[in-house]
C-alpha cells in the first residue's frame, strides 16, 4: 500500500504542476452539470414511462449512467494509457527494475486517475442530490458494491488493452468499441426497454446493462438486495471471468515483451 501511495504522490505532484489542466478537469464538471440538468428536466415527460422501474426520475437516471460510464472509461483506458506513456518515456522500464510486485506497480500507475474519477463522480452525485433528486440512502452500500463490480468487470478489458499495447503498441479499437457498445446498449442515456427488439438481445452481452439496472434500482427505487441479486450475480460472473482472462493476457504479454526486448521500445 505504501508503494502505491508513493506512486500516487509522484503522479499527483506531476498533475499539480500542470495547474490549468487540473483546474479545467474540475471546472469542466460544473460547466457540464447545468446543461445536463436542464436537458434532463426537458426530457423527463418523454422518458418517465420507460424508466419507471429504475426510479422514474430522468436526471438521476442519467447521472448514474454517466458516473458508471466514467468508471468504465477509467477501467478500460487508464492502464493502457499508463503503459503507453511509461513505454514512451522509459519510466516503465525503470519501475519494472525495482523489486515491486507487478500488481502493486499496475495499481500504483492507475491509482491517481482512479481517485480523480472517484472525486469527479462524487461531485456529480452530490450535485444530483443537491438539485433535489431523491436517493434511497439505505441503498447506498449496495450501490457502491455494484459500482465496484462494474469497475472490476471492465478492468479486464483494460488489462487486455494494456496487453495488446505491450505486444503491438496499440490496443486498436478494443476500448472504443466496448465503450460505444456499452453506451448504446447498456442503458446509459435511455432504458434498455426502448432499444428495438431486433438488437435488444445484444444487451444481454453488455455487463454495464446489468450493473446500471441494479444500481438504479438500489439507489433510486430502494429495492432490496434480493430484487437485484440476479443482475449482480451476472455482473460478478463477468467480473471474475474477465479479470482472470485479463490478468492472464497481461502476464503473457509482459513475458512476450521481455522475451522480444520491446519493453522500452516505442
Amino acid at each position: 500500500m505504501r508503494k502505491i501511495s508513493a506512486l500516487v504522490r509522484a503522479t499527483w505532484l506531476t498533475a499539480k504542476s500542470y495547474r490549468m489542466s487540473l483546474l479545467f478537469s474540475f471546472g469542466g464538471l460544473a460547466v457540464a452539470f447545468v446543461p445536463l440538468y436542464l436537458a434532463a428536466r426537458a426530457l423527463q415527460p418523454v422518458a418517465a414511462d420507460s424508466i419507471q422501474a429504475e426510479g422514474g426520475e430522468y436526471f438521476g437516471f442519467l447521472v448514474l449512467g454517466l458516473v458508471a460510464t466514467s468508471l468504465i472509461n477509467f477501467a478500460m483506458r487508464a492502464l493502457p494509457g499508463a503503459i503507453s506513456s511509461g513505454i514512451a518515456s522509459g519510466t516503465l522500464e525503470a519501475l519494472l527494475a525495482t523489486p515491486t510486485r507487478l500488481v502493486t506497480l499496475l495499481a500504483g500507475l492507475v491509482a491517481y486517475p482512479f481517485l480523480l474519477t472517484i472525486a469527479r463522480s462524487v461531485l456529480f452525485l452530490v450535485g444530483m442530490v443537491l438539485v433535489g433528486t431523491s436517493v434511497v440512502w439505505t441503498g447506498v452500500p449496495l450501490a457502491i458494491a455494484v459500482l465496484a463490480l462494474i469497475l472490476v468487470a471492465h478492468l479486464s478489458i483494460g488489462l487486455a488493452a494494456a496487453a495488446l499495447h505491450l505486444v503491438f503498441r496499440t490496443s486498436g479499437p478494443l476500448t472504443s468499441a466496448v465503450l460505444t457498445v456499452s453506451t448504446l446498449l447498456g442503458g446509459v442515456y435511455y432504458s434498455t426497454n426502448v432499444i428495438p427488439e431486433v438488437i435488444r438481445p445484444l444487451s444481454a452481452a453488455v455487463p454495464l446493462m446489468y450493473g446500471l439496472r441494479a444500481l438504479r434500482r438500489a439507489l433510486l427505487s430502494g429495492e432490496p438486495v434480493g430484487a437485484v441479486a440476479a443482475d449482480v450475480g451476472i455482473l460478478a460472473t463477468f467480473a471474475a471471468v474477465g479479470l482472470a482472462v485479463g490478468f492472464t493476457a497481461f502476464g503473457w504479454a509482459l513475458r512476450y515483451a521481455r522475451r522480444a526486448g520491446t519493453l522500452a521500445q516505442y
Binding site: A6, L13, T14, T91, E93, T98, R258, A260, G261, L263
Partner: protein, 343 residues
C-alpha cells in the same frame, strides 16, 4: 577484490526478431528473421569487483545488462545474481541488483529531484526519516543538494545523468550496472564519478560494479578486469593490464621536428620499433609519429635515449591506448585462446 562470483552467466544467448515485410509475414509466417544479440556468453564476476564490458555500439552490452536486470529474458543459458536466477527469481534479483537506466526520460521531469529519489526509495522499501536521510545523502553525493527541490525538467543533461546514478544507488545495491555512465558528463564530473565508483562504491561499500562502455581509458583507469564484447560474442576476458600485455599492445606517440632524421629510417631495420603512422607537421613544425614497440616500455626508453643521443628533437613521447576498433580486431584474431571468463 573477489570474494567469489556474485554474477554468473552460463551459455547466455539472445536473438531478437527482425521486422519483416507484410508479404513475408503473411506468406511465410513460420520463418522469422533474427538478429543475434548475444551468443553463448560465459562470465563470472566476483563480489566487490569493478568489471568493464568493452564493446562498440551494437556489441550486445545493453542486452546483457537488461538480462541481468530481468528486463529482457534470455533465449538460452542461465544467469544468476547473488545465487538468484534472473528468469525464475526476478523479484529477488531486483533486491540486490540495480541498473542505471541511461534514459533521462525515465525520470519524472515535472517533479523535483528529491521527489524522484523519494519515490524510488519507497519502491525499494525505504520509508520515512530513513528515506529522507538516504535521499539527502545521495543528492549531496552526486552534487545536486543545492537543486534538490528544483524540477528535473530544468536540469542539464549532466545533472539528469547524475540523478539517474543517484536513483540507482537508493537501495544500496550489491550489484550496480552502469551503461556508459560518463556519456553526458563534463570532464570534472566524469573524474569525480570515476573516483566515487572506485573509492566509495567499490572500495568502501564493497559494491560490485559492471561498467559497459566504449571508452578504453575509462576501463583502464577503473576496472579490475575487462571483457571485450563484439557482435554478441565475448571475445576476451582478463585483468585489464594482462589483456593489454597479452595482446602486446605497446603503442607510443611522439612529436618531433626531425621526422626525416636518419635515426627514424633505421628504426624498422634495427628491430627496436616500427613506424606505424606519420602525420603531417603542425603549425609549429612538430610532426606526430605513432610507433608500435612490441618489446614494451624498456625498449621504448632505450629508443628515446637513442633518439636523444643522435640529436633528434622530441617534444613529447607517451604511451597511448589502441583505438577500440583496432583492439577488437586484434582480439578477434586472438579470440580462440581468450574465451572464458573466470575471475
Amino acid at each position: 577484490m573477489s570474494a567469489g562470483p556474485i554474477v554468473r552467466l552460463e551459455g547466455i544467448g539472445k536473438r531478437f526478431p527482425l521486422r519483416r515485410s507484410w508479404t513475408k509475414t503473411v506468406f511465410d509466417p513460420r520463418h522469422g528473421e533474427y538478429q543475434v544479440a548475444l551468443q553463448d556468453i560465459d562470465l563470472e564476476v566476483g563480489a566487490g569487483e569493478l568489471f568493464g564490458l568493452l564493446g562498440q555500439n551494437g556489441a550486445g552490452k545493453t542486452t546483457l545488462f537488461k538480462i541481468l536486470a530481468t528486463l529482457v529474458l534470455p533465449d538460452s543459458g542461465s544467469a544468476r545474481v547473488a545465487g538468484f536466477d534472473v528468469e525464475r527469481e526476478g523479484a529477488r534479483v531486483r533486491t540486490v541488483l540495480t541498473p542505471v537506466i541511461p534514459n533521462e526520460r525515465s525520470l519524472y521531469w515535472r517533479i523535483s529531484a528529491f521527489e524522484n529519489l523519494r519515490l524510488y526509495a519507497s519502491l525499494h522499501g525505504i520509508w520515512g526519516p530513513e528515506a529522507f536521510r538516504r535521499v539527502t545523502e545521495l543528492l549531496e553525493l552526486v552534487g545536486l543538494a543545492d537543486v534538490g527541490e528544483k524540477q528535473v525538467g530544468l536540469f542539464s543533461s549532466g545533472m539528469k545523468q547524475r540523478l539517474l546514478i543517484a536513483r540507482a544507488l537508493v537501495s544500496r545495491p550489491k550489484v550496480l550496472l552502469l551503461d556508459e555512465p560518463t556519456r553526458s558528463l563534463d570532464p570534472v564530473t566524469s573524474r569525480d564519478l570515476r573516483r566515487f565508483l572506485r573509492e566509495e562504491l567499490v572500495g568502501r561499500q564493497g559494491c560490485t560494479v559492471l561498467l559497459a562502455t566504449h571508452d578504453q581509458a575509462e576501463v583502464s583507469e577503473l576496472c579490475d578486469r575487462v571483457g571485450i564484447l563484439e557482435r554478441g560474442r565475448l571475445l576476451a576476458v582478463g585483468a585489464t593490464a594482462d589483456l593489454v600485455r597479452r595482446l602486446e599492445i605497446h603503442r607510443y606517440r611522439m612529436w618531433t621536428r626531425d621526422p626525416d632524421h636518419a635515426a627514424f629510417a633505421s628504426l624498422d631495420l634495427s628491430g627496436s620499433g616500427r613506424s606505424v603512422e606519420r602525420h603531417r607537421a603542425d603549425a609549429d613544425g612538430w610532426t606526430r609519429i605513432d610507433l608500435e614497440i612490441p618489446e614494451g616500455a624498456d625498449e621504448a626508453a632505450r629508443l628515446l635515449a637513442r633518439l636523444a643521443s643522435e640529436g633528434v628533437s622530441v617534444s613529447r613521447f607517451e604511451r597511448v591506448e589502441l583505438p577500440l576498433a583496432e583492439l577488437i580486431e586484434r582480439v578477434s584474431g586472438d579470440a580462440p585462446r581468450d574465451r572464458g571468463g573466470r575471475p
